[in-house]
């Protein structure tokens, strides 16, 4: 493959997913500048590894690289946050969590802010699953490939992430009513 050819193929197959790449990087790092660094580095890495891409799913391929780059950066910047490997069993009970208060949800800008803040509070593994599922519309299998975990883990992460969000939002509503 000639190099200008490589570049134009890359621009055609991979660069259209730069928006998704930035969105994921921003959610994973919770930080504008970090997200920009991640996208810069990940796209160069992707370009260098482009010969190993066989054109099946450009977006998932790029997102995998973005995800790994973001984790590297998180590990470097904030060792405490990733120092202990995330323990599936440690974080909450394994069964489904029922929220005590029925959740009335989410209209208007304030609720949107609340939800965003709640997502940002979640462990990075939960955020990753939520964003890939809800904002990129990926299946459990695709998320599992990107995150490098079994699909069962994706399922339990999503269930727990949502249970926590419900809990958080219900608590927010209760506090609001109390005040």
């Amino acid at each position: 493959m000639s190099y200008s050819n490589k570049l134009s193929r890359f621009e055609q197959l991979i660069l259209p997913h730069l928006d998704a790449a930035y969105n994921l990087a921003r959610w994973l790092t919770n930080h504008d500048q970090d997200a920009q660094d991640v996208v810069q580095e990940a796209s160069l890495r992707a370009f260098r590894a482009f010969d190993t891409f066989y054109g099946e799913n450009g977006r998932a391929w790029l997102l995998t690289i973005v995800r790994n780059t973001a984790y590297n950066l998180l590990q470097k910047n904030k060792p405490s946050r990733l120092a202990t490997p995330f323990d599936e069993e440690l974080h909450g009970s394994s069964g489904p969590v029922e929220s005590a208060t029925p959740m009335t949800l989410l209209r208007g800008a304030e609720e949107e802010r609340n939800l965003r803040a709640a997502v940002e509070e979640l462990p990075v593994e939960f955020r990753e699953a939520l964003i890939l599922r809800h904002q990129d519309g990926l299946s459990y299998r695709e998320i599992a490939l990107i995150a490098g975990v079994p699909t069962g883990t994706v399922m339990s992460r999503l269930a727990r992430a949502r249970a926590r969000l419900k809990e958080f939002l219900a608590r927010g509503i209760r506090e609001e009513e109390a005040s």
Partner: protein, 263 residues
């Protein structure tokens, strides 16, 4: 028949359409008969929709450009560092030598025979880049990163994004209202882009420091592809103005920009 515990366990997978038809059907049947579980499902559904509706983080236009130019640089590097495709290990070294000489001759002939167009001058390349930037800015949502007709909003926005402070003055009274500003790249260096409007025409004003010793120069106009580009240097600043506005009105705008600022 499923019980509630069992149903709740699989509710997320059900909402995500990840269950096989048999399990899907069983959950559906249970939900029809169970108020508590369908309440949970309703919550899950609301939450899921809210998550999907959360606005995406939008990639800054500057970053998109930076990625593109980094890739072009990288592609240039790669083509330089890999001179020829790796040859098969030569069991007849002289054959390789002859092949190499033939290749060299062919290359030389190619170089000598191809008459190249004269390289575009630096300033011509520059004005073409200015036009390309202008056209890019007209495409959906690339016009301004900060949208405001208030110079006191636009000017501080550039603080911390550039190592210089661009002039931002609203000329609404003179018929050239300020629209906003954004960061852009010209010849691989950042510039402040300040955006104005004249009727339906968009005007981009690009500015950046010209270096300590550059002499002032008077405005020069060139026209490419139906766009006018006016360039000058003033008080240590390079400025470019680009628009499809007619020449006379554009000159008028340039004079406004060049007018010494009070204070």
């Amino acid at each position: 028949m499923r019980n509630c515990q069992d149903t709740l366990q699989w509710l997320d997978a059900y909402w995500d359409n990840e269950l096989d038809p048999v399990n899907t059907l069983e959950i559906e049947q249970h939900l029809q008969g169970c108020t508590a579980c369908s309440q949970s499902y309703e919550e899950l559904r609301t939450l899921g929709i809210a998550l999907s509706d959360l606005p995406r983080h939008r990639i800054p236009a500057v970053l998109r450009e930076q990625v593109r130019s980094a890739l072009r640089a990288e592609a240039g590097e790669e083509s330089k560092t890999i001179p020829f495709p790796p040859t098969a290990r030569a069991s007849w070294p002289w054959l390789t030598a002859i092949a190499a000489m033939l290749l060299l001759c062919a290359l030389l002939a190619g170089v000598l025979l191809t008459s190249r167009p004269p390289p575009a001058s630096a300033s011509e390349r520059e004005s073409q880049e200015v036009i390309a930037s202008h056209i890019r800015s007209l495409m959906a949502s690339h016009l301004a990163d900060v949208i405001s007709t208030d110079e006191h909003t636009v000017k501080p926005w550039f603080d911390g994004k550039l190592d210089f402070s661009p002039p931002v003055i609203d000329f609404a009274k003179e018929g050239f209202p300020l629209i906003g500003g954004r960061l852009d790249y010209l010849t691989d260096k950042p510039v402040a882009a300040i955006v104005y409007r004249r009727d339906k025409h968009v005007i981009n004003l690009f500015c950046r420091p010209s270096g300590p010793k550059s002499p002032d120069s008077l405005p020069q106009l060139v026209t490419h592809q139906g766009y006018h580009v006016v360039t000058w240097t003033q008080q240590g600043r390079n400025c470019w103005v680009v628009s499809d506005l007619n020449e006379a009105e554009l000159q008028q705008f340039v004079e406004l920009v060049r007018r010494p600022t009070p204070g």
